[in-house]
Point group: D2
Chain length 385, copies 4
């Protein structure tokens, strides 16, 4: 019973948090999809709601009637098992339903699921789905921050979002050494984790060293000033092509104005703060920077093993590991099996968490992953050797 | 004095009319740009306002200060002379300024221009600019209707816009004969016209016949049912490629549902009314239909000469004429010279007017023009032989 | 009998001429298709042969067996009536059949058709097809020159083709005046013409003046040096976009090397000869140049009426007319009807002829047409006002 | 001395082998580049020659003069350090130099390098470069086979190449078990290896089983017949998109003709032999097949550890490992450092060798790598669990 109360409280606070994140937006900001990766905020609001409706209320609450047939179609993301989905790059064309109706949908589902939770009459699997739904919504809270920043940061007027989601200055750190040996990797214990963390297994690591701090904007500026973006030598071939094609010469949101570097932050257009950790760099840039410095990025296993030895959680940290299944990985049956496993190719693992990660959402075994070209995420660099 | 009063009244009613057209929209509908041709309603609202600010208030009202530097940048359409413009396909990403601010911009400019007009202290050229601005806004009113229909008609939920902009049934008409001879073409007389109608000149026309009525949905259905979209024979090569690439098998907004043809209209999703004139066909389709019937489309000169002999104004009528300058065409100096002349290649002329054309906006010498692939416009077919 | 002998002689000399044009090529030059517009020389050799096989030998010579089923498939160009065709942009991937076999195919068809002609036992229609085939092959002879030049001119080594196809210097000409009136346009008389020249009809022309000479490289250089490619003012909107997108700053084959203008000619890489007529410009460039000079391009009707008053035949001359059917235009039944009519949209008419046009191939009523972006053709500029 | 003789013999036989592989081609087959991945045979011939000229003769033979400045430009592949390169997708447009001259270039370099080798007056590094050049040429021999097959297999006439490069039937194999433990991975000992195999290091492997045989065409047919290409369930998300976009429903070169499966082989168009190992499948297909069977692909470490327990070398075997640097990986300085390291992202490792791999070219530690979408390579499937 106690656990149900806690779950209900967590559910309600999570739902509310999502809405608070969006509060500073204009109605119009909920609509555009400037690039395929960035979803309209309205879509996140509907999609996280749809998840609870589709995977909890419909299968487990016998009296529940779908709020709107259309919404099931519009707010499915990538769950082929759950029916046809709106093709991703077209989300920004859906002006309907209006935000107001999406909010009504949210309230309806929040209320109905709360009532159903309060009754407490459900199986273990149903409860697990609610927990998954909460974690799912937390993931989308973080994406919301990325996407809002991208939408606002591409308005010619650079509108201010407000406080929140700020990183702290980094001081130049030391390298910390870890001796070779066999280590256990993957989730263990009680509590929630994703399927991709399961399959705890042993890896052998050769001795390595890992930096105790993230790379700062100031250190990254040296790379720019040394012609880092103009010399193919430290770059992966694919990375070099990418920066040529996209004409990239600095982190995302940086603009050179009359010889000075400014950047868009959620507080508007500001001069770059050299003490903050460098943010909004792709894997290609992270790798090139590390290579130029004579270092490398840690593997995800090195990171997990060494994580106790440094602070983390400001920015997701690109690792040198591709996103692949652990030995013994099993995907869940049905639509929930599409959550993680099907993305296990052409993605790079990031570890840690960011200032946009909801509190308590991450853990040392958490495996985040994005395409190596991703720059709109809250990504940073930690060096290893 | 009288004329200034009339101009002021016309100005104010035009401004109001634009806003009335948008009234049934949700705020969210003002934002998307689903295809490059379709501009967000918000953009039309700002752009028509910018036109008055840029070409009347700034040059002719000495006390006028620009409402917002950003708006000048955001709401320029294609006037290279007037500074950098937002690249057309990105309009749908501009969530800012919000609709509310665009409306404030509208009010501000409407008010300031009204005051300035009331004072009556201006040159001939300034007055001509106001008149041009009114015609410009009327053109955008019509585009607004096309664009709103496209945005709403591509929502999976097919939302209802409301009454208005309805065509009337057509009855099968006769062909009317015109004997060969030399005719005068182009605008003559007092009143407003565009530069592309000037250069009144003589053309020789061989004898021709022209239909007194537009082609109906029912007649067009015969073409579809006879495999018109499946046989390259009546098609222009470019048209045939176009319908293959875009997978076109019927007019825009038509959907075959369980063997019956429905279409999206501003009143929602309805069965096709076979007596209405066929609408939303490209030039390619109009030409292929005419060719399949053993006829052809009239030239714009034939149309102009014969216009007294039939009713027109329901739908813009594709002609067989490409959009080219009349002998002696001169483009206006400066930015206003970009209004028409620079589009004189790869466009096809349409004549007449449509139910979305503001009253009094068209005339028999009016030359409308669009790319032959355009289907979202209110276009129809009149046959000739 | 005499006429059959003459036809046979013409047939044989035409076939031989095509092969002579290709003689300076390496086997490898017969293969690539660098852009969609440019066909591999091998393809022209096969296609012109296929035309005689498909449209003469198969229907009219009862004993004829097809040389190779595959060739019918590979060497059809755009005749939907005659079966599936190789998609145009893939021609450059067809390394087979080797040139040697295409030449065998040519010999076979030339021989068989010669024997059949010698027997003289055929209908009028068959003879007309042979004549059409000869004109068709002559058209492809000209395209062969364009395409060879493009293939060779895009080798980093700029190989020499050899003599031939040279233009002569132009001296600055006067304008010649034509008074207004009704004129007859279109082909009349005996001899061969294409269907698009038929439908002789009357047009009324207002008084105009037309230059007696083509624009020279020297005059065009003034346009470049005055920033003609950097200022949107004289350009059509579509033309301005085109030169931005393609990064065009001079005619095709011009290269600026250390401050001096060189160009690729069939004689190799040479300094631009300022007295030669400017060549390899698109319609957009021709129109922008004319507009910058304060003139315009003649219409195709003006050109035809005035043609006796000046020399022509060095370069095809862009006219201000779009390619549209003449009144009463009728396309031939079946595959031959696809020859001309289906291209009557989005093309601009060129009149005259070029140094690559086979002797006797052109005439004052001849209507050549290309897309306004075409630059690899032998095009030039004649001004009008 | 003995070793120099052996090196010389190996050098000469390698050069000759490359030319023998091309012998059945027509001159025209040397030219096209049907897709970006497939290079023209002419290019391989020139490029392998350029490698010896650029990296051996120029730096180490003082009397050597470059054969042709142009060739250095044309036949560089991806070595940014060695100057500008022809952009990869344009190789098929280079009809010049003709094959004949490329062969002359080959003879020249083979001869000069042979003379220089015979003198025996060179440093260790120079000898290492020759060895690398031989391995480089062997790699291109294998690519030549892939590329020739692709060029010929995409001719509508399916020309026969001839004997050679045949796989042998596979019999259904058992799974072989390997117990968990720490294993050494990477190259050790004398002899040649690439930089990507160095950095021998320890890995811990959990117990696994690996199949002793490759998957056969017959087994793969079951997957097709069970709707494997029509059901997203076993597919990676990126793989599912890939097969939709490319409309893939079977391995490359398979064609269904009247209900029977045929495929293009180097012997022409033949019925699929069900006992041969399935070939020409992408990583996506290999992974989906394995997943559908309830198995998975081995990692490259499992493969290396288990390699003694089965026969390999018929087809390169997709592993579940992404191509990443080994601990302590160091790329060589200068242009040779671009050989391997810069491709370490978005690629999947293949292990083993194929019937197109030159004898003695592979070894158990050899790491081949391709993009997961690659289908024109000689790839196959081995299952693990
Ligand atoms: Fe989701
Ligand atoms: Fe406008
Ligand atoms: Fe042809
Ligand atoms: Fe290479």
């Amino acid at each position: 019973m106690n656990s149900i109360e806690a779950l209900l409280a967590k559910f309600i606070s999570t739902r509310k948090k999502t809405e608070e994140i969006c509060a500073p937006l204009e109605v119009e900001d909920y609509v555009p999809q400037p690039i395929a990766d960035v979803s309209p905020p309205k879509w996140h609001l509907g999609h996280t709601t749809w998840f609870f409706e589709q995977f909890v209320l419909l299968p487990f609450d016998p009296g529940y009637r779908v709020f709107s047939e259309d919404f099931a179609y519009l707010f499915n993301s990538y769950y082929n098992h759950a029916g046809n989905r709106v093709l991703r790059p077209n989300r920004g064309l859906m002006s309907r339903p209006p935000v107001r109706e999406v909010m009504a949908y949210r309230s309806h589902v929040t209320e109905r699921l709360s009532l159903w939770l309060e009754k407490g009459d459900f199986e273990q699997e149903a409860e697990e789905r609610v927990v998954l739904g909460i974690y799912h919504e937390e993931q989308h809270q973080e994406l919301l921050v990325y996407d809002m920043k991208y939408i606002l940061g591409n308005q010619p007027t650079f509108p201010v979002y407000g406080e929140g989601f700020r990183t702290k200055p980094v001081s130049e750190g030391q390298f910390s050494k870890v001796s070779s040996g066999v280590f256990e990797i993957g989730f263990e214990g009680e509590g929630f984790c994703y399927d991709n963390e399961l399959g705890r297994h042993r890896v052998f690591l050769e001795e390595f060293e890992i930096s105790e701090s993230l790379v700062s904007n100031g250190e990254y500026l040296e790379f720019i000033q040394a012609g880092g973006y103009l010399n193919f030598d430290p770059w992966l071939d694919e990375g070099w092509s990418f920066i040529q094609k996209e004409q990239i010469r600095a982190p995302l949101y940086w603009h050179e104005v009359e010889g000075e570097w400014w950047n868009y932050t959620l507080r508007g257009f500001e001069k770059v703060d050299w003490n903050l950790p460098v943010q909004h760099i792709s894997y290609y840039e992270a790798q090139a920077f590390a290579s130029w410095k004579g270092f490398r990025l840690p593997t995800e296993f090195e990171w997990e093993v060494a994580a106790k030895q440094f602070d983390w959680g400001q920015l997701w940290e690109w690792t040198g590991s591709s996103y692949l299944p652990y030995p013994g990985f099993k995907k869940a049956p049905g639509a929930l099996g599409e959550y993680n496993g099907k993305f296990m190719v052409s993605q790079q693992v990031l570890r840690g968490g960011s200032v946009a990660t909801p509190q308590g959402h991450s853990r040392p075994t958490y495996r985040n992953f994005f395409h190596p070209s991703s720059r709109w995420i809250f990504s940073g660099i930690r060096l290893a050797k």
